[in-house]
Symmetry: C2
Subunit: 337 residues, 2 copies
């Protein structure tokens, strides 16, 4: 049901009955390594192209998510997913392997929560009983497509972010055991005129703030209702901006409550990841790999995942357009109250 | 509610309270010209780039759709749309102009019905009362991105299709006057191994057949329940293949019942469009411009629009991948029974 202006309230509390995450070597060297289902030791994953490697990540994550959910392939009614590749080919090819009716979505790095929000909405409303949401990114496909060939060895400013090599998938069901999806706030496009593609965190920060405030307005909740509020991939530059903007707007949050997946997936001080992680896979592997495990261990009771996306293309940047941002928020809790 | 395996049955019959279509000069020279809200006399629409022209088409269509629906901008709760451009920038920029919470989707040329299906599902389930679905394509942006620069003057085989320059938008509401959306069947990815991007109709035909048959299985309906069943953009090569496949599978349909938007939007004999129209805008402008007007005139009582998409990227083709197809079907009727 719609609550407020842009939030879906899930009365039937869809359950995340299984998730899986598959990552690359850099994420395997990071602080969350133990939480991922599979860590590939090499970036190419023995595939002939980076694109095939990215697709493999998602095919494995979706397969493992089914196994972890103890679900037969034929019981899955819909697959919802997208990625950063042109025409979201990683998801389309993975959906072909999966064989389920397929809804392709795109919200750049907010795709993780866009797909989880839609999957939860379908289950909550009775339009499905089992839906998988998935997404992925690969550092080398993103570099190749959005920036320069990696072999070129171009230098990056410290505001740049490092695209996560990883895929995450979650199975949402009408009944079963697992964390529940309470509600989802769908974001607006927010554009404050940032044009630097090496500073996407700053471009996305205002969108995160807009969605977080819309979420509180729509639901009547406040920061204190959550044990953790994480943005998707604002990283070292964008996250403090979002924090400052929220404080200015009367929503102060400290660094133990308000965190960012892009700052959690790597050891930003030690690993060469500039300002931190980004990419569709960033919020997906942190949420589905790490945060849901913390919920299941009882360490967190209720979290808000605010996945952020920069809605640019290389062409729109070349044509002098600014970088519109968007953020979608999903509230996940330990169980039905 | 889920009916059968992959069909959403809309018990509350969401209403299409307003639509709009904006097209380019070739579509204005075609047989459906009188049904479009605005025909641009020039392909560039006085914009500095083809991409800006494509965005303008969608911005105008969404604005006119609101006007035709007699809806204030602030009453629109969600916008759902996508397009063929990398990272669906036309829709992201148009969603920025529109200001509504935005769900980006991608199903190549099936995006028109993917977005209409999701918009209808949200309204039917009470997750929204007013949702806009939109999509667009532009001949020159598609040529530039997927094929060759138009200035290059490359020749095309007769199996190639001509991307429609046009945008279509529809406002779906919980109550009001207009045609109703009865149900939607979400398609699977179907890939029979076609690798020729100049023969997309053949690549998409099996997906159309799969979705049409799934629709009949799920709903218990048969071809006789419809006055018209249209595929999105199979055009002169793909549509006869789909017709033959359906006949082989025991679902014979004649050419007055089973048609294709790609064959309707142009005079394929007179206009230089090879096998016929294609692109996200093709099924959108034919459905929202022409077919819904025929329903409102009483000429058609119930139609099934089966929008077809080829889920390739230039890169996936260059890497030797085949072209996966998908089709989403939406049933639209004159009114609540």
């Amino acid at each position: 049901m719609l609550r407020g202006k842009q939030t879906w309230w899930f009365d039937n509390k869809p359950v995340i009955i299984g998730t899986a995450t598959v990552v690359g070597p850099d994420e395997g060297d990071g602080p969350l390594a133990a939480d991922f289902d599979l860590v590939h030791p090499e970036l190419d994953m023995q595939q002939k192209s980076w694109e095939k490697a990215e697709r493999l990540l998602l095919e494995q994550a979706s397969e493992f998510a089914l196994q972890n959910a103890k679900l037969e392939r034929s019981q899955l009614e819909f697959y919802i997913g997208g990625d950063l590749m042109n025409q979201i080919i990683s998801n389309s090819f993975a959906a072909r392997s999966l064989g389920a009716p397929y809804l392709g979505v795109f919200g750049a790095c907010s795709t993780s929560m866009e797909s989880l929000a839609l999957a939860s909405q379908l289950v909550d409303s009775g339009a499905a009983t089992h839906v998988m949401a998935g997404t992925c990114s690969h550092n080398c496909t993103a570099e190749k497509q959005f920036r320069y060939p990696t072999e070129y060895g171009s230098q990056k400013p410290p505001t740049a972010q490092y695209t996560v090599t990883g895929a995450g998938a979650a199975v949402v069901a009408a009944t079963g055991e697992g964390p529940v999806v309470e509600c989802a706030t769908i974001g607006k496009v927010v554009d404050l005129g940032i044009t630097d593609p090496f500073n996407m965190g700053a471009a996305m920060a205002p969108a995160a703030v807009d969605t977080i405030q819309a979420h509180f307005n729509d639901t009547g909740r406040s920061p204190g209702d959550y044990d953790l509020i994480v943005t998707g991939d604002l990283a070292g530059v964008g996250h403090p901006i979002a924090k400052d903007l929220l404080k200015q707007n009367g929503v102060p949050m400290d660094n133990t409550l308000f965190m960012d997946c892009g700052l959690m997936v790597y050891d930003v001080q030690k690993q060469k990841v500039q300002a931190g992680g980004s990419g569709c896979g960033c919020s997906a592997v942190v949420t589905y790999g790490h945060l849901l495990k913390r919920i299941q261990k009882g360490e967190l009771k209720r979290i808000l995942v605010v996945a952020t996306g920069a809605l640019l293309s290389p062409l729109s940047f070349q044509q002098g357009e600014s970088i519109p941002g968007i953020a979608h928020a999903v509230a996940i809790a330990a169980g039905k109250e």
